[in-house]
């Protein structure tokens, strides 16, 4: 017994800071996810010529809290013939995996829970992939045909697209030469160019595969509401359902973070080594000021006093953030001797800004696709995965490898590396398209006959 206490104390002494970070993330993530959902609804409303949530709080800003309260006090229904243990376990598993994978993500050079783990990005990808058990087991345990079909679709889809996503990551990792997340970003700083530009095909593959992995439209077949009602979560309600929801959005944030880290330069600002673009550092504070000013302009148009007050408050918050963002870039201009002192401050504050900005842009793209595109059918999804994305990503790994060897021979670095990798990417794309065309041709000849066993994936 004493050993246990002693061990625990030792453990706490060593790791109290990451643990605290972890608790903070777990505590705040539901709120963040709630607001991501609100943003999504607002964006969707904007694209669909309507207003979206407007009732709870000014411009519906308290809607996530109202939703959360509603979900928490809803009756917890477990179907009669459900497997109680698994039914209970599945959503927890889903959300647990999603939250755990956040541990490996570095928001800035300093903000990372599991620092310096050697396997870095593999940890994030691997642990988040475990969330599939939550989906599959949940679908099985609810003992309903729709749920089961959703679960099976989900399993087949995830297994298929994970291969493509993994291969795409490999293409990016070839440039980094390490799995450690901090080192990956540092490698991009040294190259002075994002790996997403060096390996556009890999980035594209990862983009598509990550949408499929997070079950987002147009690949949202496991929960396609017009076909399977709600797929694997048909029988879930209230709090359990909201856990699934939380897991889905957390997974979105995770894949966006992975893509940002590996392909979009992590916390680096665009063109990190280009000196004459240093004015980009002033962009974040200016952006905040612009948003704040816009809020102030909108104040007189608010119907209620509370809302006017609220708008002013939002504007004030924006100005405050602008100030925070401006300090690290303005201090060296005013007093160059302090430049070295504010350097870590700059890295931390601007790093987080750019990281979150890129993640948001990635998520925005997800949402945009969801509002625009119809849904794939299951066989089409499988065909896209197996006949196009997987060959494409594998060929891409090969040609990127060759391009890197060529680059080493020719001493190409930074932007010049594009000379080798761009033709390689184009070649990969062409070969994959050729394979797809050939497959389609042979598929048409067989026409239906052994019409793809859709679960055989």
């Amino acid at each position: 017994m004493q050993a246990v206490t002693q061990g625990t104390i030792e453990f706490l002494k060593l790791y109290w800071a990451p643990l605290l970070c972890g608790v903070v993330i777990v505590a705040f993530l539901p709120l963040i996810v709630g607001y991501v959902v609100l943003v999504e609804r607002k964006l969707m409303a904007d694209m669909q010529a309507r207003l979206g949530p407007m009732r709870v709080g000014p411009h519906g800003l308290l809607q996530p809290i109202a939703d959360a309260v509603k979900l928490l006090i809803k009756e917890d229904i477990i179907p009669e013939d459900a497997d109680k243990l698994v039914f209970w376990l599945a959503p927890v598993l889903s959300v647990g995996a999603a939250l755990l994978s956040l541990a490996g993500i570095a928001i800035g050079p300093a903000f990372q829970i599991a620092k310096d783990i050697n396997i870095g990005i593999l940890f994030v990808v691997g642990v988040s992939a475990m969330g599939i058990f939550g989906i599959v087991l949940g679908g099985w345990a609810s003992n309903s045909h729709y749920s089961l079909m959703g679960a099976l679709r989900s399993a087949a889809q995830l297994v298929s697209y994970e291969t493509a996503a993994g291969m795409a990551l490999v293409s990016g990792l070839l440039f980094a030469g390490t799995l450690n997340i901090t080192s990956i970003v540092e490698a991009q700083r040294q190259q002075g160019i994002w790996f997403g530009l060096l390996a556009p095909v890999a980035f594209f593959t990862y983009l598509v595969a990550s949408i499929a992995e997070t079950n987002r439209a147009p690949f949202d077949l496991p929960e396609a509401e017009s076909e399977l009602v709600a797929g694997y979560m048909t029988e879930f309600s209230g709090f359990r359902w909201s856990l699934y929801f939380l897991a889905e959005y957390t997974n979105m944030i995770v894949v966006a973070s992975v893509a940002t880290t590996l392909f979009l330069g992590g916390w680096l600002r665009p063109f990190p080594r280009t000196q004459w673009l240093n004015f980009l550092d002033f962009l974040p504070p200016l952006l905040m000021v612009a948003i704040g000013l816009y809020c102030l302009v909108r104040v007189p148009k608010q119907p209620a006093r509370v809302q006017q007050f609220f708008m002013v408050a939002v504007a004030g918050l924006c100005f405050f953030l602008a100030l925070v963002l401006a300090v690290p870039v303005l201090v060296p201009v005013v007093n160059p001797s302090l430049a070295a002192g504010v350097k870590p401050l700059y890295e931390g504050i601007h790093g987080s800004f750019w990281f979150l900005f890129k993640v948001s842009a990635y998520l925005y793209f997800f949402m945009w696709l969801r509002f625009t595109l119809p849904r794939y059918r299951f066989d089409q999804l499988m065909r896209l995965g197996w006949h196009f994305l997987i060959p494409l990503s594998i060929i891409n790994v090969l040609v990127i490898g060759i391009a890197m060897i060529v680059g080493t021979y020719l001493h190409l670095e930074g932007w010049w590396l594009l000379l080798a990798t761009l033709p390689a990417s184009i070649i990969a794309l062409l070969i994959a398209l050729f394979i797809l065309a050939a497959e389609q041709k042979s598929g048409q000849q067989q026409a239906g006959g052994a019409a793809s066993d859709s679960y055989a994936g």
Partner: protein
């Protein structure tokens, strides 16, 4: 001390869920407990500073093989199987085999204790930051000394893939 606590924690989970794996009636429950056992084993790997193997265990074993298992269990799930007799009449065979194995290992421990100066070796307590980066080490070893086994393993996987496809194909 910390190492000990972590080891006992994971080892306890691993053994308990292994027992549950082989005793549950429902195959899905078995699979869940097997997943737990595999994750606990991954924890042991981490405690042994084999980070790369830890993540391979999670990605490949848990995220790959076990998904396949669960998938197949769902495809062939048999309600009736849960109600059938779960154990074949081979418990004597099992007992004999396990006793023999236990005896063998026990003999090894006993003899190693008997030999002078040959007590059970203790794992070197190298600080974690002194260890070489694990994935690089494994990769180097894998692609230099063990390149041929690596290639053979990949051929094995290919064969397995083709075999599985042939096997699972519908005969029309």
């Amino acid at each position: 001390m910390l190492d000990k606590v972590i080891f006992y924690f994971f080892a306890g989970i691993a053994v308990a869920s292994a027992v549950l794996t082989v005793t549950r009636r429902n195959a899905v429950h078995s699979a869940i407990f097997l997943i737990t056992a595999l994750l606990a084993t991954a924890g042991i790997f981490l405690q042994l500073r084999a980070e790369f193997l830890f993540i391979v265990q999670i990605i490949l074993y848990v995220g790959g093989i076990m998904v396949l298992f669960v998938f197949v269990i769902m495809l062939v799930n048999l309600d009736v199987a849960v109600r059938q007799i779960q154990f074949a009449r081979q418990k004597w065979v099992a007992l004999v085999i396990s006793l023999a194995l236990a005896a063998q290992v026990g003999l090894m421990f006993w003899s190693s204790g008997r030999m002078p100066g040959q007590g059970l070796p203790v794992l070197a307590a190298a600080p974690a930051d002194k260890l070489p980066p694990n994935s690089e080490e494994v990769a180097k070893s894998l692609f230099s000394s063990y390149l041929l086994p690596f290639e053979i393993a990949s051929v094995l996987l290919l064969v397995a893939m083709v075999g599985a496809v042939v096997m699972a194909k519908k005969r029309t």
